[in-house]
Symmetry: D2
Subunit: 421 residues, 4 copies
Amino acid sequence: MKVFSEEISLEGHIIDSWTLPRAFDTIMDMGGSFDVQEIQVGRAKDEASFARLKVHAETEDKLESILSALQSFGAVLASREDVAYKPAPANGVLPPDFYSTTHLPTQVRLNGHWVDVTKTEMDLAIVVSPEHSEAHMVPFSGVRQGELVVVGHDGIRILPPQRPREREIFSFMGSNVSSEHPKRLVIDEIAKQMRAIRARGGKILIVAGPAIVHSGAGPYLAKLIRDGYVQVLFGGNAIATHDVESVLFGTSLGVALHNGKPVQGGHRNHMAAINTIRGVGSLREAVERGIIQEGIMYECIKNDVDLVLAGSVRDDGPMPDVITDTSKAQVRMRSALEGVEMALMIATMLHSIATGNMLKASVKVVAVDINPAVVTKLADRGTFQALGLVTDAELFVRELASALDAADEQESSEMFKLQKL
Amino acid sequence: MKVFSEEISLEGHIIDSWTLPRAFDTIMDMGGSFDVQEIQVGRAKDEASFARLKVHAETEDKLESILSALQSFGAVLASREDVAYKPAPANGVLPPDFYSTTHLPTQVRLNGHWVDVTKTEMDLAIVVSPEHSEAHMVPFSGVRQGELVVVGHDGIRILPPQRPREREIFSFMGSNVSSEHPKRLVIDEIAKQMRAIRARGGKILIVAGPAIVHSGAGPYLAKLIRDGYVQVLFGGNAIATHDVESVLFGTSLGVALHNGKPVQGGHRNHMAAINTIRGVGSLREAVERGIIQEGIMYECIKNDVDLVLAGSVRDDGPMPDVITDTSKAQVRMRSALEGVEMALMIATMLHSIATGNMLKASVKVVAVDINPAVVTKLADRGTFQALGLVTDAELFVRELASALDAADEQESSEMFKLQKL
Amino acid sequence: MKVFSEEISLEGHIIDSWTLPRAFDTIMDMGGSFDVQEIQVGRAKDEASFARLKVHAETEDKLESILSALQSFGAVLASREDVAYKPAPANGVLPPDFYSTTHLPTQVRLNGHWVDVTKTEMDLAIVVSPEHSEAHMVPFSGVRQGELVVVGHDGIRILPPQRPREREIFSFMGSNVSSEHPKRLVIDEIAKQMRAIRARGGKILIVAGPAIVHSGAGPYLAKLIRDGYVQVLFGGNAIATHDVESVLFGTSLGVALHNGKPVQGGHRNHMAAINTIRGVGSLREAVERGIIQEGIMYECIKNDVDLVLAGSVRDDGPMPDVITDTSKAQVRMRSALEGVEMALMIATMLHSIATGNMLKASVKVVAVDINPAVVTKLADRGTFQALGLVTDAELFVRELASALDAADEQESSEMFKLQKL
Amino acid sequence: MKVFSEEISLEGHIIDSWTLPRAFDTIMDMGGSFDVQEIQVGRAKDEASFARLKVHAETEDKLESILSALQSFGAVLASREDVAYKPAPANGVLPPDFYSTTHLPTQVRLNGHWVDVTKTEMDLAIVVSPEHSEAHMVPFSGVRQGELVVVGHDGIRILPPQRPREREIFSFMGSNVSSEHPKRLVIDEIAKQMRAIRARGGKILIVAGPAIVHSGAGPYLAKLIRDGYVQVLFGGNAIATHDVESVLFGTSLGVALHNGKPVQGGHRNHMAAINTIRGVGSLREAVERGIIQEGIMYECIKNDVDLVLAGSVRDDGPMPDVITDTSKAQVRMRSALEGVEMALMIATMLHSIATGNMLKASVKVVAVDINPAVVTKLADRGTFQALGLVTDAELFVRELASALDAADEQESSEMFKLQKL
C-alpha cells in the first residue's frame, strides 16, 4: 500500500503546553500514523523542548488534512517553502483553496523570511504583498479583486499559546468557574488585573447586555466607566434603550428599579425612551442638552469611551446611535478593538459571540452569564486567557465595582500616608 | 382626600377568558380601587358576560396608568370620545404622548365609529387618516413628518383573546411542554394543524436555527418544504451557510454528518461554502447552475418559499443573500408575514424573538428549544395560541416529518381505496 | 343522552383569587358543562362573592372526576352529607377509594359539623375519629389497620388560598424572579419578613445545599444562625461534610476557600472530615470536645437549632448524625416542621422537594437556585406564598446576611438613641 | 533555602494518554518544581514511553501533597518500599492518615510484590491482609475494628487510563455531545456496543429516571428489557410508582399517556398505584397475581433483572420494594454492579451520581439528560470511557430501541438467508 509522508517539527514548551500530546492525538484521530524522529525535552522549566515527527497517511488528501491540523498547533513543515498565493477573483471573493486563519499569532514565509501577519482574527483570509514583505488578515468583505490571497498550507507558521509559567487566575481556574465555586476571589483577581491595565494606560472592553440594567446593576457599570475602567463598550439597541429608560423613567422591563414593583407602562417607557432620543437625534445630543444626566450611556459619552452599538433584527426603534448595517458594525468593532487587552462579556450572547470571533488569542476574556451553556461557548477559546463565570450579572457587576472601589480606597489611603511621611 | 375616578366596561367571555379577574388584579396591583357597578355572567357557555366598574385612584397619573393597563384587557372607557392624534414632529419621531400598541386586534373611534387598525404588531404607533376612516400600525422608521399619530387613551378599544371553546392543543397544554411530558402526541397534533393549513392554501412560517443542520435534521426540514408545508422561512447567515456546507462538504461544525466523526477543516468548510456562493453571486444562481442540488436552501428556491435571511453582527461572510441592514430585514420580514397562520420557531433565539415581536396575537406559535428559559420567553405571549416545547431540534423536526408523512400516506391510501370503489 | 349533574357552590374572593374562572376552565377541560344558577360579586374589595353552579357530565365517572377537581378549588357539594370513611385493611395500606389530600386547609363534615383536619400536607390520607369529632392527615406508613380512612368526595371542604389584599413581596412578584430582575430589593423584603418572624418568636427553616459552603458563603449562613434567624435546618450528608471540611482544612471540593486555588487532597479532605466525626461519634461531641469551633454545624448545635440531616444513596460515609433511613428522616422532618412560618430553600433540589411536599400551603416559601427549572419546580405551589429566585447561592446568602445586618445595626442605633433620651 | 525532593517514575503511553504533561502541570500548579532525569518516547504507536523526574518542594507537606497527586496519574515513588498500614481504631472508623482511593485500577506492594486491589471504587479505604497477599477497597461502614487499613503514600501504584488505540465512540466524541450534534449516529454506536455485550453474555446497567415514563417512553424501555439488553436496573420510588401508575391507570403526572391530555386525579393515581402494591406486599406479588401485566417493573421481574430501588427523602409511600435505608441500598447496588460493563444513566441525577461514585473507571458510561450541567457532572469521570448526551430522555430511549430493533431484524434476516442456503 502506498503511503504519503511528510516531516514536521514542533518546538517551544510543547509538553507542558500540551502541544505534543495533542499533535499525537490528532494524527491518530484523523487516521494517520507517525514516527518520532527526534525528541528533546527541556529538563528544567525554562528550557524549551523540540520534536521532529514523520507523519504518514494513505491518501494525499488525508495527509493534507492532518498537516493543516498540525499547523494549528504550531507544527512547521520541514520542507521550508515560501507561502503560496493567488489573486482574488472578484471583490469579496477568495480563491477556492484560500487559507482560513485561526486567532493565534501567525507568520508566513515570504522571500525566504518569516513575516508576522497583522490584524489577527479567526476565520479570515491572509492577503500578502510580497514586494513589501507584508501580510495581514482580512474578512471577505475587505478583499479587493486581484489582491494576493494565501492558499494551501506551505510556508505558514502558527505560534500556539504557551501556558504561562506564572500561574494566574486565567490559567489556574481552568476556563470555567461554576456557580458552586467561590466567585468573590476570582472577581478580586479580575479587579487586580483591571487596575494594572488602567495604571499602564491599557484598554479594557466591556460587552454589555441589557440584564445589567434590568437587574439594577446599571449604576455600578456607570461607576466603572466614570472611574476609568472602560475604554471600549459594545452593546446593542437594548442596553442603550433600557439605560435611557431607567434614567428617564426609573423603570426597566416594566419594573420600577427603586422598589422592584411592577409598574404600568414598561413597554411604553422603552418606546418613549427611544422616541426621546430619536427626537433630538443622538445620545450625545441628549447628553449635551441635559436630557440624560447619568447612566451608562451618559458616562460613555462624558468619558470618551469608544461606544459601538450594533443593531439586530429584533430591535425596536432603534436608537439613532445604533448601526443597523451589521457589516458596518463589524468594521467599527474591529477598529475599536485595536489595543484592547481585556474583554469582559456580561450577559449578552449575540454581541459576545460577535466580539469573541474578532478577538485574537492573546486578549484576556472574562465571560459572565447565568446560563452555563453560554459561558462554555464563550470561554472555550483554546487559550489560557479565557475565564468563564456562571453567575448573575447583577452580582458580578456589583462585586466587581466593590472590589475595584476597595482597592482604590486602599491605594489612596496609602498615598495619603506616604504624603504625610 | 381627592379621588379620581372613571367608569369602564368589559364584555365578552370575560370570566372564562380570565379577563375580569385580571382586571381586578391589575387595579389593585397598581394601587387603585374599584366598585362593581353591574355584572352579568353568561349562564350557558355560549352566552357572553358583561361588567361595568368604577375605577378610583389618588392621582390623575395613576388613574391614567390603570386605564391604560385595563385597555389592554379590552376595557372601554365609558366616556365614548373619539381617538386623539397629533402630527409626527419629524420623520421617524413620534409625538411624546404617542399610544404604544399591543399585538391584539385593536380599534380606534374615528368620527363616532369604531375602525379596525390594520398591520397589528406590538410596540408600534398608530397612524390615522380621519377623512378616510382608516388606521394602521407603523414602526418608528415608517412614520413620516406630519402623519397623524394616535396619542393618549381615549377612543381606543382592544379585543382581548377569547379562550377557544373547542379545546385544542394550543390551549389545553398550557403554554409550556417540558421535556418530561410526552411530546410525540403534541407533535401529532401540530402535524394535524399544519395539514389543515396546507389543505386550505394557508401560510406556515418556519424560523430555523442552524442546530437543525448541525444535528443532522436538515434533510427532514428540506422534505417539509418539498411537501408544501412551508411558505415562509426566516433565518440568518448561519442556517444558510451550514446548509450549503452540509450539501457541498457533508459536514457541519467540523463533524461529518454521515458518521458523526470530527473531520479536519470544519471551520474552513463553512468559509469555503460562503466563498462558493459569493463567487456565483446568490443562492438562486448556485441552484440554477447546479452547484447546490439539495438541502434547505435548495428546496426554498425550488418551491418558491419566501426566504428572508436577516444578518447579525456575529456573521462570517456573509452569504450574498443575507440582508445585512437589520431595518431593511425587518421590512422584508413584515411583508413576508402577511397571511401567515402558524409560526414554528426552532432552535434560534435571535430570529425567533424578532419574529415574535412582529406577530399578531392570532397567529399560532410553536416555540422549540432545549433551553427552558428560551421556550418560556418565546411562548409567553399572553394568548391562547402559543405552545412551547422544551426538546431537541433534531427530535422535533424528525418526528414532525414522520408524523406528516404518516398522515400523508394514510390519506393517499384512502384516496386509492376511494378511487377503486 | 343521559346526563349526570350535581350542584356545587363556591364562596370567598372567588374572582380576584381566580377561583371561579379556574373552576369554569376545569369543567370544560375535563369535558363537562355547567350552568350558572346564581352569582353575586362583591362590589367593594372587602366583600366576598358567591356562586352556585350546576355541573353536568355524560358519565358518572367523569362527573366524579370533575367534582373532585372542583373540590380542590374550594367547591362544596350542595348535597351536604357527612364524610364517608372505611377501615384501613392493613397497616400502611389504605382502602382503595381513599381520598388523597392537598396542602390546603381542609375540613370534613362529621356528625353534621365541619371539623378542621390537622397535620396538613399534600398526598396524604385523612383518618377520622367520628366519636371525638377529630380528623388528621397521615402518610401511608402512619396508618394502622382498622383506622377510619376518608373515602370518596362527600363531606369534604377545602379552603383555597385567598390572594392577600395587602400586596407584599410574595404576591406582587408573581412566583418567579428571573436572573434579569433586581434581586437586591426582593432580598431586602425577605430580610424584613425574617426580622418580623424573629421578633415574634416564630420559626424559620433553612434547607441548605452544599454549594453554600463550596461557594464560600458558609460563614454568612453561620452568622444567620448565630443571630437567631434560623430555628430549623434541613440538609444532607454533603452540607455537614463540606462544612466540617471547610472548618478543619479550609477547603471545599478541593478548592482552598481563602484564595480560590485548587489544592491537592480535596477528595481526601472530605473523607477525613467524615472520619474525624465518625471517630468521636457525633457532631455534638465534636463541638463539645472543641474539634470544630465554628461553621454552620457548630452554630446549629450551639444555638439549639433543630437540625435534621437526611441521608441519600449518593452519600460518602456518612456523618454519624445523618439519618440513613429515609422514612425515619421524613418522620423527623415532619415533627421539626411544626410551627415553621417561612422556609428558605437554597441550592438543593432533593431536600427542597422533600420539604416542599411536607409544607402546608400557608408557609411562606423562598426557593433559590441558579437553575430556572429547579426554581420553577419548587416555587410552583399554587399559593400566593411562594417566591422563586434564579440566582447564585453565594450572592443570595451574602446579600441576605448583609440586609439583615444593616437592619439590625439600624435598630440598635435607634435603641441607643432612645436609651439616651 | 531547604528543599525536599523525591524521585518518581512514570511509564506507559504517558504522552498520548496525556499523563506526562498533566504531571508537569500538577507539579507547577501545586508550587513545586522538577527536573527531568530521563525520558524515552516510544517512536511507533505501540511502544511505551518512560520518564523519570526529580520533584522538589519547599516543605515536606507540600512534597507529600504533590506526590499524592502524581500517584493518581500512575507515578511510582522510586523508593520502592512496601505499603504502610494501621489497624482501624473502631468499627466504621479509619486511622487518621488513611489512604483515600480513586476509581482506577490500583496495586499495593506487600512483601515486595505488587498486589491488585479488588472492589475498585472512588473515595474508599484499602484493607490489606499481608499474610494472604490480599488487598481490597472498602467503604467506611464496611471497616471492622483492627482491620489493617493502608495509610500514607508509599507502596501504592495506580494504573491510569490508557487512551484506547482503536478510536471508538467513547473516545472520539470527547466526553460531551451537545444538543447541537447529530445524536442519531452516536445512538447507533451505543446500540452496537450493547449488542456486542449482550452477545457475549455481559451485563448492562440502566439507571432510570421517572421522566422516561412521564414522556411516554416507558414501553420502549420495557422492550429493551424484554429483548435482553438490561441485566441490572437502578431507580427510585418514582420510576416504580409512575410505571405502575401508567400500567394501571394510563396516566403519568396527571397526563393521559394515550392522548397527552391532562386528566383529573394525577396525584391520586400515583398514590393509588402505591396503595395497590402495598396492599399485595411487593411488585413481584403484583406480577404473579396478574395485577400488573406489562411495563418496566413487570419486565424486570419476568426477565430476572437485578432491580434495586433506592429510597430518598422525597418519596411518597414508598413502594414496598424500595430500600428506605440508603446505606443498605448502597450495599445492594455495589453487589449488583459486579461484572457490569456498561452503564446508561437516563434522566436521573440522584441515582446516577450515586451509581457513578461506585463505578470503577473501566465501565463504559453513557449519561443522558436535557440539562447540560447534569450531563457534564456525570460524564466528567477522567476516563476515556464516558459519554454525555444533552438530549431528551424520550428521544434517547425511543431511538435506542429503534436502533437495536433495526440491528436485530437485520441479523435475523441474515440468519434466515443463511439457513436457506
